[in-house]
Subunit: 295 residues, 2 copies
Amino acid sequence: MGLEVFERLEDLRRWRAATDSSTGPSTVLVPTMGNLHTGHLALIEHARSIGDRVIASIFVNPTQFGPNEDYQRYPRTPAEDLDRLQRAGCDAVWMPDEETMYPAGPAGGFGVHVPAALADCLCGAHRPGHFDGVASVVMRLFWQVRPDHAVFGEKDWQQLVIIRALVREFSIPVAIESLPTVREPDGLAMSSRNRYLDENQRARAPELYRMLREAARQAAELQQEGVPPEAGTFEAIRRSVWMRLKASGFEPEYFEFRDQETLALEGQVDRVFAAARLGTARLIDNVAISRQNCR
Amino acid sequence: MGLEVFERLEDLRRWRAATDSSTGPSTVLVPTMGNLHTGHLALIEHARSIGDRVIASIFVNPTQFGPNEDYQRYPRTPAEDLDRLQRAGCDAVWMPDEETMYPAGPAGGFGVHVPAALADCLCGAHRPGHFDGVASVVMRLFWQVRPDHAVFGEKDWQQLVIIRALVREFSIPVAIESLPTVREPDGLAMSSRNRYLDENQRARAPELYRMLREAARQAAELQQEGVPPEAGTFEAIRRSVWMRLKASGFEPEYFEFRDQETLALEGQVDRVFAAARLGTARLIDNVAISRQNCR
């Protein structure tokens, strides 16, 4: 009944085959890059509520990191991760090595190409090739595990939109579920990269979420008044936020109002997205624009 | 017991789910673009010998045709195809429409990127993007049908090498089988594109196979004598063949000796590959270099 740990594809396949049937128990995958925090554990808990068996994957995926990004120093804490998964009631963990995931090497192999409309905006504009790398590893994980469901966090909202599109486009029989971002008491979105913040930066970090909430509230009010998203008022909010983030020591990458289903700038603009650097940490977050944001 | 024809994904899924179990009967997929000839029927027959249920797919895949290629005029003969599949003992046919295969449209959607080492030589050098299109549709077919085996013809040898690599790279649990090229009595490799040949061209078409056989025989003799593939003798064979093909009215695209596993020019050179235009038809073929080729 303990946590089963698989490092070889044949062992994973044996476990999976035991219930490989449309009438058998359902399998839920929670893909992670390890260094698990409370946000990940919430995904595991949700996974347990929707399926019979929960498998997490731990793989720091080289193809989704740019050449000047933090692949090398990304925190790797496998012993603590396994301990947390066990206590969270996870049934199995898939921990492939790089050769299993990329037999031809991470650079020389087959990739999945995400269309520009989804991949070239927001984080994709600042991390060229990032979402091709995400799609390439998720496609592999889905073939390796063949889950019935997969659960992703909503902090990486653009990733979630892209994975939903991937599944639709390739007719992948995996139901994608998402869970709202889990936050620290002061509002900071939980992330493995929060480790990069020093004490002073950590104290200022929740400002990103505060700005998103305030912008979402203002946007909701403007929308209630019938102001269209292309109006200068929205741009004025963005400029104001940008300056306030800079004043707090952030280096903003983007702060944008977009359609949360299509990521388009036009039409139904119902979510605010932000990314900003604080010291060596790159923080991302997003907040829905809804009537509830109006007070 | 007749042939089941599926045009909607949910109907295919229902059929597939009935035996979706690692212990249930095995399913073999034979992907085709329709206009079935004796070569395709040999694939169906082979499929019947290796699995319990055989499903063919018929889909003329737009993403593997270049802008100036024959997508529009590619022969479509669904009624005859269904009749032939039924008589060949095929169990089911998957005939998706374009929207099912490419929900975001063939141009705007997700693709699979084949590494240049496999995709940019031979046919790929003359058909940019062709193998990305092939990989993109095969990935979709594999998710839609989730076969245990899939059978491909060896005429499209480069395609076969790429699909084997695709399966390896993405850990796709599909066993890839291949079958030697089926030929007309005069040696011409069977192909839907042979229809494009007029009577005079059809009479000259087998020259491509004759040249391949002769080159393979000469190469085998040179190899027995220890001549390396980079020697000028191999180049002399290629030049001679090229001129003879031109004299017979062909417009050769390539005629190359390569490693049949990796498609590399170096190392174990054990297959000759050719493509040539004859009128409006583009013909491809290949022949193994082996001791049996020496007489």
